[in-house]
């Protein structure tokens, strides 16, 4: 089931959000060893997790976290313009129609095949969400291995600057343009929402 939590929504579904913050702690802190704040020893939350953030969260029928992504507005502080300006040759892209995708998170409990299903469904949801909300581009920061996977999703990507070594990793910033052709480009690259998760999507809509 896809949950889209947007600024201005009725009080957020706490359980879904909580599960996502816990999953993020497990992935980004425990697994990837990112140096990011942890709240109450359980939840990975930083200053960008505020009322202005949008979340796309995939859960199973019981509400357990499968995957999630955080979208930040780019006309206010976000990751690229706060910490990684040097990754952009011409400054971070910003404006009301550009969102930064951060904390793309696949639950650690997923098996390899499920990970791919959840990943593909989440990527498709990102494109759909952009089209529904008039977002024309996403910006993102990626380590090189993940960068190659993002390219392989088939959508239109552009480097925002040259890769740089930051905190022991080689990072690059990129811009992903979203337009009416994007869903077809994703499908052509083999990225499609999983049948099971799509059924849930329709039920939720």
């Amino acid at each position: 089931m896809l949950h889209v939590l947007q600024p201005g929504d009725a009080p957020a579904r706490d359980r879904v959000l909580q599960a996502m913050f816990a999953a993020r702690k497990s992935v980004f802190v425990d697994l990837l060893k990112w140096n990011v704040p942890v709240v109450a020893g359980t939840y990975e939350m930083d200053r960008f997790d505020d009322a202005q953030a949008t979340y796309l969260i995939l859960t199973d029928a019981s509400g357990a976290h499968l995957g999630s992504a955080r979208l930040l507005k780019t006309d206010r502080p976000h990751i690229l313009n706060s910490y990684y300006r040097e990754l952009c040759a011409k400054g971070p892209p910003s404006g009301p129609r550009i969102r930064e995708v951060t904390r793309f998170c696949l639950d650690r409990r997923l098996k390899a095949a499920e990970r791919r299903e959840v990943r593909d469904t989440l990527v498709s949801a990102l494109a759909d969400h952009a089209l529904e909300c008039g977002v024309e581009a996403y910006s993102a920061i990626a380590q090189m291995g993940w960068f190659q996977q993002i390219l392989a999703f088939g959508w239109r990507c552009r480097p925002l600057g040259l890769p740089r070594h930051c905190d022991g990793a080689l990072l690059a910033a990129l811009r992903i343009d979203i337009d009416r052709d994007t869903p077809a480009l994703l499908r052509a690259a083999g990225i499609a929402p999983s049948a099971a998760l799509t059924r849930d999507l329709r039920a939720a809509a």
Binding site: K90, A112, Q148, L151, G161, P163
Partner: protein
């Protein structure tokens, strides 16, 4: 700033490449612009076995390419092996710090140098569920590696590999759709096979009989068309049914 313009230009032109020949011409131009002389874009497989379905594009001297194929270096090439332990571009001269180099590896590198291929820079390209691949840029023996353009080479290699992937899949070579599918129970058994357990042990772990495990493993082998458990484990790792994380997680 200027390098970034070049990176954007690279991304645009490789994306527009309509076929492999065009991509090869573009890659050569990029290679020279970056200060290298040779490029090699490939899936890390034995080309003689896999044939056209594997990505392969290079401008190495024909004599070297023939030798390379004759020795089936596609799978054992030290450059390829080194690119499996990192997601970041590396210089060939750094390889000995990344993987153990055998005497044969040293001979291959030396032979490459006598054929005019000196140091190089390789960008790994791994898409889960597909053969690993890479894009290498190499210089003629005796010339220095163009240090300043390496970040650009990193990006160019990534985009070039993706362009090749798109062109090759357009030829209907992706072949993921009819991939074998295991039941959850078969997969559980294969996971323990990959962890080195025998049928009896797996039976104890999963709470079923040894015979049941043997049957699951046999049926899983049948679905993949292989007869050995080792081949089964490798195939499931390769297509993403299992991941290395699954195997090492406790």
């Amino acid at each position: 700033m200027r390098l970034h313009q070049v990176a954007l230009q690279f991304a645009r032109v490789v994306e527009a490449a309509g076929d492999a020949d065009e991509l090869a011409r573009i890659l050569l131009a990029i290679t020279l612009e970056l200060g290298f002389q040779y490029f090699a874009l490939s899936h890390h497989v034995d080309v003689a076995v896999v044939g056209d379905s594997a990505i392969r594009l290079h401008n190495y001297p024909a004599k070297w390419a023939d030798y390379y194929d004759a020795q089936t270096l596609g799978v054992s090439d030290p450059v390829h092996r080194a690119s499996h332990v990192t997601s970041v571009g590396f210089r060939w001269s750094q390889m000995s710090q990344m993987i153990p180099l055998t005497a044969r590896d040293q001979r291959i590198l030396e032979l490459g140098r006598t054929q005019g291929i000196g140091d190089g820079f390789t960008i790994p390209a791994h898409v889960p569920g597909e053969a690993r691949g890479s894009c290498s840029f190499a210089i003629e023996t005796g010339r220095p590696v163009p240090e300043t353009t390496l970040p650009l080479a990193q990006l160019a290699g990534g985009f070039a590999f993706e362009a090749a992937r798109r062109l090759w899949s357009g030829r209907g070579h992706r072949g993921e759709t009819d991939a074998p599918q295991l039941t959850d129970r078969q997969r559980d058994c294969v996971l323990w096979v990959a962890r080195g357990k025998g049928d009896w042990e797996i039976g104890r772990i999963l709470g079923v009989s040894e015979e049941t495990v043997a049957r699951h493993v046999k049926q899983a082998c049948a679905r993949y068309g292989v007869s050995k458990r080792t081949s089964l484990a490798i195939r499931t790792l390769f297509d993403g049914t299992l991941s290395f994380t699954d195997i090492f997680r406790r």
